[in-house]
């Protein structure tokens, strides 16, 4: 259990670093797929099976296919001649290490975080899909409907944005 935790965490963080190191956007997208698969496995170790399946379906399925499709559509290639912007790289590394130092100092003083995970209790229900469904359709029903409106607005917005602009010069949009 602990070994699997470290394996999947290493997979997630290692390929996460590869995403920002690779020069080719296509390699970045494929590394991000493996990073998200490691994250989904971490959700399984946390007994959140539904979230794990959603992670694989939505992120590594739909979203990453969308990214790969856009990279293919725009025909973006690796730029070998351009160097790194050293000011931006220096700033990024400084922020990264500052964040990590602060994280370690905060977590070091967090006493509740030192509890070890115990196996999922048998008397609690394992049916997390059922529990989440009940929560969504009772307590969070209004939020679910707002989310539906958001998805509708996003769909309409994407269609409007991707219309070809003034192909004959006669259209305004």
């Amino acid at each position: 259990m602990s070994l699997l935790f470290y394996i999947f965490s290493g997979l997630m963080l290692g390929f996460g670093i590869m995403v920002i190191v690779c020069r080719n956007p296509l390699s970045s997208a494929l590394c991000l797929v493996i990073s998200f698969l490691g994250l989904a496995a971490l959700f399984v170790t946390l007994n959140a099976y539904f979230i794990s399946i959603i992670q694989v379906l939505v992120y590594t399925g739909a979203v990453m296919v969308l990214f790969l499709f856009i990279i293919m559509l725009l025909d973006i290639r690796e730029e070998k001649s351009k160097d790194w912007n050293f000011l931006a790289v220096g700033g990024g590394v400084v922020v990264l290490f500052g964040f990590i130092v602060q994280l370690i100092s905060v977590l070091g003083g967090y006493e509740d975080g030192k509890q070890k995970m115990v196996p999922f209790p048998e008397n609690l229900s394992h049916e997390d899909v059922k529990m989440i469904g009940v929560e969504i359709f009772t307590n969070y029903n209004f939020h679910l409907q707002v989310l539906g409106v958001l998805l509708l607005v996003a769909t309409i917005g994407v269609v409007v944005l991707s219309r070809r602009q003034g192909k004959e010069g006669s259209e305004n949009n």
Binding site: V19, L46, A48, L74
Partner: protein, 107 residues
């Protein structure tokens, strides 16, 4: 068995990597990918707090945390769709996805 602090550390490290990627990359598509990584790191933290929410390594009784993760994933998917449509429109008008070349608002 891992502790809560280890999960929080992993989530924080993933968030830091995403933040670093937003700062050092100039390709706008990779910046959007790094944003996705930061959102996923927040999800990992939420689920970790749910799993340890009952104290003594037991899960919390309510499933509110997982409902919130579900909402975050849905909003992130909508955000990616709109963001990529904007990138396509940008590429049509400027023929570039490098943020260094999009400096028309710079004084």
């Amino acid at each position: 068995m891992p502790t809560l602090n280890e999960y929080l550390l992993m989530g924080g490290l993933l968030f830091a990597i995403g933040l670093c990627g937003v700062m050092i990359r100039t390709n706008i598509i990779v910046i959007l990918m790094s944003l996705e990584m930061m959102l996923s790191a927040a999800n990992l933290t939420l689920v970790a707090f749910w799993r340890f929410g009952g104290g003594e390594g037991l899960p919390a009784h309510s499933y509110n945390a997982q409902v919130m993760v579900f909402f975050v994933i849905t909003v992130a998917a909508a955000e990616v769709a709109v963001g990529l449509a904007i990138i396509v429109a940008l590429f049509r008008s400027r023929q570039t996805v490098e943020v260094e070349e999009l400096r028309s608002m710079k004084g």
